[in-house]
Symmetry: C2
Subunit: 229 residues, 2 copies
DNA sequence: AGCCTGAGTTTGGTATACAAAACGTTCCGG
DNA sequence: CCGGAACGTTTTGTATACCAAACTCAGGCT
């Protein structure tokens, strides 16, 4: 007797919770895929009609997109997709150097104290497989997951939260730039993984540092033409 | 009728488009002041009636409070004031050590490259005055502003954003704990300020490190009884 | 030409309504 | 007496409609 909603045709069959979450994901996909170019206005009514939801979920989604650094909103003038500048990219790499190296060190400490770290090795193996199979999308996804897993292993929940917006921006920026060789990256991941699982905190720290720093130049070159001053 | 909220006197006049922001500030005040105890449910309707606004600004405020770490929301069950645990405090200090020491180093670099840093000295002087006058609230506020100014001087906008939620939590946690001597803190601030204005990056780094670390134990002691496991 | 003005557009905000999920309470049967 | 199902209540999540302020842009006035 609960429901069997017979005629609620407003939404396509997919009964789902969290309209706002869906709108967030859809718009985010649009941004990182370049469908919504930098500077594009995001009109609430437009999006609500496009996705067949009301304005409330759209507002919530836009609010989250702003907090995650994808859009900028101006009072009474709405939201536009953010324009990335050179300093945005450099700032991102600097903060990553700060937080992710700390995470790597702490992850090694945690593992040395008995925390389980197989998940890291598993992600690495899955990445190897994806490279061999030529599934480029999965390679990128698993590489990001590897970095996220290190942060998770650090055991610092605030750190996990603080890094989340960075990963969103990374996905965007790395998507715009053409990434450097997956093979080279993987070698660095392997070394880093070994250091963490071996509990070598300072080694993990410096490997993470150089791995992140090595990513900066290729990204800057890849974005050379498309960035604002 | 849209009625102007009678919360504070400064509302009338050129005030607009700030309902959500005001609700955010008011609820935040309630939380850091201990009026809303940890675990208290925050009902949308309740708050909207209390502050004479509709539910939309309340929802927006709650969303921001969640992102800043003050409340936790559960799907279909609403928001409650977060319960602070021992590890929350330790996590906060660890991430502060990570980000604020980096900010201090970068601020020194920026100053060495010609960025203006008088604002830091001014905050220090204002703090001295506040201590001499016994204006404890101002002392705390200016101390926080000093830390924020260092981050601002780093010139890294992403860092500024990333640190913002930390400062919110700090205000909460430091408010619950009884702080250590303002005099001691000020001496450390003076040293740190000198290092930054002198452009001594590594000195600024290590001074910031020890200053932050010295704050941990007193806070943990001050909160000893009131924290969850 | 330059400035002002007014219509259209868009956002920010409010009120109201309703469905669905969680919560509480009661009531029934074992 | 107790466990669990049925029911009603509460609260969130969403939709819809509407209003006011402000920004945009075109056109008209001095």
């Amino acid at each position: 007797m609960p429901m069997t909603t017979p005629v609620t045709g407003t939404l396509n069959g997919r009964d789902d919770e969290a309209r706002a979450e869906q709108v967030y994901q859809l718009v985010l996909e649009g941004i990182v895929a370049g469908e919504y170019a930098q500077g594009t206005r995001l009109r609430e009514r437009e999006l609500s009609e496009l996705y067949s939801v009301s304005r409330i979920p759209v507002r919530e989604a836009i609010q989250r997109l702003e907090q995650d650094g994808f859009v900028e909103t101006f009072p009474r003038r709405g939201a536009v997709v953010r324009r990335l500048s050179l300093s945005d990219v450099n700032d991102l790499f600097d903060v990553r150097l700060c937080l992710e190296t700390f995470a790597a060190r702490m992850a090694a400490v945690q593992v040395a104290q008995g925390a389980p770290g197989e998940s890291l090795q598993e992600l690495l193996d899955a990445g190897r497989q994806a490279i061999d199979d030529g599934r480029t999308d999965d390679v990128v996804r698993l590489s990001a997951a590897f970095h996220a897993e290190i942060v998770r292993l650090s055991g610092n929940r605030l750190l996990i939260e603080s890094v989340k917006p960075l990963f969103g921006r990374m996905r965007w920026i790395f998507g715009l730039a053409h990434n450097r060789s997956n093979e080279l990256q993987r070698d660095e991941h392997v070394e880093l993984c070994k250091a963490i699982l071996g509990g070598h905190a300072e080694l993990a720290y410096s490997l993470a540092y150089s791995h992140i720093e090595l990513g900066r130049e290729p990204v800057l070159r890849g974005l050379a033409g498309t960035l604002e001053p």
